[in-house]
Amino acid sequence: MRKTPIAALTLLAAALGCGGDTATSNAGNNGVTPPNGSNVVALVVDAGATGSNGSPVGYVNGAFVTVTVCVPGTQSCQDIDHVLVDTGSSGLRLLANDGKAGGKLTLPLPALQNSAGDSVAECLQFLDGFTWGPVLRADVVLGGEKASGASIQMISEASFAVPASCASEGVNEDSLEGNPGLLANGILGVGAFRQDCGPACAVDPALPASDNPGLYYKCDASGRCTQTAVQLTSQVSNPVALFSSDNNGVILELPAVPAGGAASVTGSLVFGIGTRSNNAIGSASIFPVDDSGTLTSVYPANGTEYPGSFIDSGSNGIFFLSSSSTGIPECPQAKGFYCPPSTLALSAQNRGAGGSPTGQVTFNVASAAALFSSNNSAFANLGGSNGGFQGSAQSFDWGLAFFFGRNVFTAIEEASTPGGIGPYVAY
């Protein structure tokens, strides 16, 4: 299936009144007038980083930026393209070009060391598994903004082998390609939290009732790594929170895409909320999130409440409930995605973590199999089940498909904005 059937599907969908891109609650600026300024970098949704065969690795609904990292205080820098922008995590992680990882980072950055001179490494949990590698210090430059001396993670096993306690978390996301491949040269976590872990990781893990989850390790000269505490200011942190200005959050601005998707889409990653004329919150609805970063989704609109839902650019589709509760068939091949026989026009509500406000969201779900059969990389109507839970344990994961045609604000915890104190999401 290529262009003609897609066009036919589009016409059919339009005839049925379920044409894709206009059915959003807030059309945003649709990318008509991209903002300019030193607080803006290009946000690209395309097929992803270049793989070993010279072609893109083939990411669906990944929003990427180019990040510049520099040896702190110097002009010795490296640009890293295709770093995935993730509002669901905090901190910059870059794949090393170490002969195995297949990433880009070669710049020799200084390691973070503890007071005993041991190097610090990290095992950060993600849904797929974990990223492992040393914590390094870098100046992180994004457009005209700079996070000086930020802690970042280099994803690599070259310095230190993965400890058993880290390997117990699942699969190691240690390479660009392969199984599982990161399919990006890194992850730029610009979520609602200042650090990836927070206060718990600053508590001595050896204390009997320690709430330290054991993400950080100290590694001695022999290469042996053991779990350790790392103070907040040394933890891998959201670089935006470290900027000298425009540091209270971000906006992801992506244009709407046609029902059949688009090969590539360009939008903007804007730093700061209400700090300049180009990042005003305007009439966006503001949804406070709880200390897990979650809000409540309601489905169908005025139906059942699902707390624990979240808006997350690091997920690719709109994942919600399960096939058994929505009645939408899953794709036989594309596991976890929905394959309705014709495009569905659905509505839900989002509700702030404290119970208000409540806002309507309309969204479309097309057959993921049909979408994937095109060569496109950006789809607003890609949906699937969210892990298959049942009852009130179900939730919504509003992934990148939700972001098209919207300006989505993520305000950082404890940060002051014209829309109130973070954390919140707004659109």
Binding site: S90, D128, S168, P208, A209, D211, S315, N316, S395
Partner: protein, 155 residues
């Protein structure tokens, strides 16, 4: 099925360690109830037990804020586990012999970096979603689930 809470108690982690519970566990999912104690010790967790006619739920709440529930048949076989919290528990410990199934399922995932995981084989069903600071998941062994128990009860 009605679950009747008949006992609830807490053990500080220190006490668990002093009791000499083994630090290294046998399989949990698919294993025996004795492994619950090992999990509790490793997680530095409080334990609450709810028993019904068809199964008992051993709920552990760790200091990290993560809750693990282990579902055991009357003869002490753990047929399901569920987890929820800012960080996952030790998945190798929790899933035991099914840990490799979990790894294989993660490798086949195509939902973007942090999209959900759902895998069902004849051996084990594994479902997981979330991102840092908010993870949630469950797993069960179809062959071990007691007759008449709806997997929807596993959460």
């Amino acid at each position: 099925m009605r679950i009747r809470r008949f006992s609830a108690f807490c053990l500080p982690a220190v006490a668990a360690v002093l009791l000499g519970l083994p630090r290294h566990a046998r399989a949990t999912l698919g294993g025996n109830l004795t492994t619950v104690k090992t999990d509790q010790s490793r997680m530095k967790a409080s334990l609450q037990v709810s028993s019904g006619d068809q199964y008992a739920v051993h709920e552990m709440k760790a200091a990290t804020g993560t809750t693990v529930r282990e579902y055991a048949t009357p003869d002490g076989k753990i047929f399901a586990v569920a987890w929820q919290g800012p960080w996952r528990p030790d998945m190798r410990q929790l899933l035991g012999e099914y840990f490799t199934d979990y790894q294989e399922a993660a490798k086949g995932k195509r939902t973007g970096h942090s999209g959900p995981l759902a895998s069902a084989t004849d051996r084990v069903v594994i479902e997981s979603s979330g991102r840092p600071r908010a993870f949630r998941g469950r797993a069960w062994v179809p062959d071990l689930v007691p007759a008449g128990v709806d997997p929807a009860e596993i959460r």
